[in-house]
């Protein structure tokens, strides 16, 4: 079979990106970012609270069901994270005095009012993450249906937490072509699905501007432990190397963000939690660290962007 001539016509071969969402940028040619109190690195820790329904389609997302019904293996291991593992993470964060930004599937928040209350009483931030892990936003989902998922998941999470829910991360880091438009229309201010930058940037939608915020999937326990099979200490070394590099770079280039997503079903295991404690201890031992939430980073960045 030969390829049609259209395969070799390149409709978007032009200066800049091959879409209209944001302009091409060199991350090192922008005005340096200054964090409050001259901090070098904003540390943004994001425990992710997922609900994986036992009846979800097999092999849909990392962590989802993969075995014939009833896949108790995967179902209960994920549930372990929300029953047990997450409390080890809470204790480790409390010991370090660091706040978290907790991403919730709306269904997970409704199912676990105790955990929501633990998050709220610490003054931490809640960000939206769709309905549950069976509702994967993608171009296979009709727009009306996806719009209903976005609106209902945000409404339900706002009710369950009483927070405005300004931030969003899509389940399984999957979007359709219109997800950002639907998020902006539903009052989301920032989202962290695009892993192309280490600092916030402006992202165009048909319902106004969103701010894209970094999400270190490459440094996550999901990638390094769940996907690559690295040990807990190898994971800790990489996170510490990342922090040290950003800390050093910040002295020349301006404020940096260490984004650290955490899956309680991975890092919350008894044999791994010490790795997180080691990471937090290392970070807490440095001056010029701003351990904070997504909204606080957004506000600090916006304030400077407005003045610039």
């Amino acid at each position: 079979m030969t390829v049609e001539g259209s395969y070799l016509r390149y409709a978007h071969r032009r200066p800049g990106m091959d879409h209209e969402r944001y302009p091409l940028e060199n991350a090192f040619a922008r005005s340096p970012v200054r964090w409050p109190n001259g901090a070098r690195v904003a540390v943004w820790i994001m425990p992710v609270i997922e609900f994986f329904p036992l009846d979800m389609p097999l092999n849909l997302v990392p962590g989802g069901m993969t075995r014939p019904f009833p896949d108790y293996w995967n179902y209960t291991l994920r549930d372990y994270g929300n029953r047990v593992g997450v409390y080890r993470i809470l204790r480790a964060l409390d010991a370090a005095g660091f706040p978290a930004t907790v991403a919730f599937n709306a269904v997970a928040a409704e199912r676990d009012r105790f955990l929501v209350q633990q998050v709220l009483r610490r003054g931490w931030e809640v960000v939206g993450m769709g309905l549950d892990m069976a509702h994967l936003h993608s171009s296979a989902v009709p727009r009306d249906m996806e719009s209903a998922w976005v609106e209902s998941s945000l409404a339900r999470l706002r009710t369950a937490t009483g927070q405005p829910v300004r931030g969003w991360i899509s389940p399984g880091l999957s979007e359709s072509f219109v997800t950002p438009d639907l998020l902006a229309a539903a009052g989301v201010e920032y989202f962290c699905d695009w892993m192309n930058d280490e600092l916030p940037y402006r992202f165009k939608t048909e319902a106004g501007e969103l701010v894209a915020m970094p999400h270190s999937h490459e440094l996550s326990d999901l990638k390094l432990i769940g996907d690559y099979g690295h040990t807990a200490s190898q994971y800790a070394e990489q996170v510490i190397d990342s922090f040290d590099f950003l800390y050093r770079e910040a002295a020349e280039e301006g404020g940096r963000i260490l984004s650290l997503p955490l899956r309680p079903w991975l890092t919350g295991a008894p044999h791994r939690i010490a790795a997180l404690e080691r990471i937090l201890k290392h970070i807490a031992s440095r001056a010029g660290v701003w351990a904070t939430t997504g909204s606080a980073i957004l506000d600090a960045w916006r304030e400077q962007a407005r003045r610039a």
């Binding site: 390829v3 070799l8 091959d18 060199n26 880091l173 999937h217």
Partner: protein, 320 residues
């Protein structure tokens, strides 16, 4: 009989067991290769500076970068990170260490990211073609279409840098059965698509002087960090071990070591320092010729190609 997918092949293509790309040439008692200045190892660095499309068209074979139906954010956005963030970190490191890379360039980078291409051109980094986009494969192209892609790449590299396009690494390592012939006929001097040797090799082709130059999938960061799931420290160890052995063997006959990189993988904060460490280690050795791909291919063709072809003919006569 095994059945092969044929949707990317023209109707008359025969699926064969041995393509006969090059002559047998055991890695024992080969005539000695010496690199300039008596160097024993030619070392070259190959950053893959690539552009992947958000919504690539469907060819006969789905791009392997599309893990999910478009938009595949995980794959698209991390590759965009390579051009927004990772590239610039790699550039500073190369400046600091005096690295002279040969760039595996997605040609459309000249259109999308001229600033990056200008930075590289102004430092006299060498360019070779890595196809138009890494999300457009050669599979299924007619001869005329494939020659069109080669000509497109040649013209874009000339316009961006004044350089001639002397080398080729197929986009996403996709080949048609006639790619090598067309490259040779188009005057390309080295291909990086074959992985059969640690020294340059002559190719069995009707026209031109195209040789195969060692690239690497073994010490490629894609393999070392991604498909082999190595930690940065393990990847650095793999590179050092590869170098140590090729360096030792190079005293018998000069070897080539290529270090292929991807800014989206190696340019993240938890990996950059490991790259710095191995580059310092390799460049700190005497007897290492840090060259570009064109320089290595040129030296080989000038000093060893004809004698190797003759020696391989003798070997075939004695042993086949």
């Amino acid at each position: 009989m095994t059945s092969f997918p044929r949707e990317h092949l023209e109707a008359d293509v025969q699926i064969i067991a041995d393509p006969g790309l090059y002559a047998p040439w055991p890695y024992l008692d080969r005539p000695k290769i010496e690199w300039p200045g008596g160097a024993r190892l030619a070392f070259w660095v190959a950053p893959n500076v690539e552009f992947y499309e958000l919504n690539p068209p469907q060819g006969p074979i789905q791009p392997s970068t599309l893990w999910r139906p478009a938009p595949d954010l995980v794959n698209y956005s991390i590759r965009d990170y390579g051009n927004r963030v990772g590239f610039w970190r790699m550039l500073s490191l190369f400046d600091e260490l005096g690295v002279r890379p040969s760039v595996s360039l997605s040609i459309a980078m000249c259109d999308h990211c001229p600033e990056i291409v200008e930075e590289m051109a102004s430092r006299d980094w060498e360019f070779f073609s890595h196809g138009i986009y890494n999300s457009r494969y050669l599979y299924g192209l007619s001869e005329e279409q494939e020659l069109g892609v080669i000509a497109d790449a040649r013209e874009a590299i000339r316009r961006a840098s004044g350089q001639s396009m002397d080398g080729w690494l197929s986009p996403a390592l996709t080949n048609t059965p006639r790619t090598l012939q067309l490259l040779a006929r188009s005057g390309v001097r080295y291909t990086l698509d074959l992985f059969h040797d640690d020294q340059p090799t002559p190719l069995n082709l009707p026209d031109g002087r195209l040789i195969s130059l060692p690239y690497s999938l073994e010490v490629n960061d894609w393999t070392g960090l991604h498909t082999s799931r190595g930690t940065p420290a393990e990847y650095a160890e793999r590179i050092r071990d590869q170098f140590d052995r090729l360096y030792a063997e190079g005293s018998e006959s000069g070897t080539v070591m290529c270090l292929p990189l991807h800014p989206f993988l190696i340019g993240v904060p938890h990996r950059v320092d490991h790259l710095a460490g191995v580059l310092e280690y390799i460049l700190g050795h005497d007897g290492v010729w840090h060259a570009t791909a064109r320089e290595i291919a040129g030296w080989y063709v000038e000093h060893y190609l004809d004698s190797t072809v003759a020696a391989q003919r003798d070997f075939a006569r004695d042993w086949s």
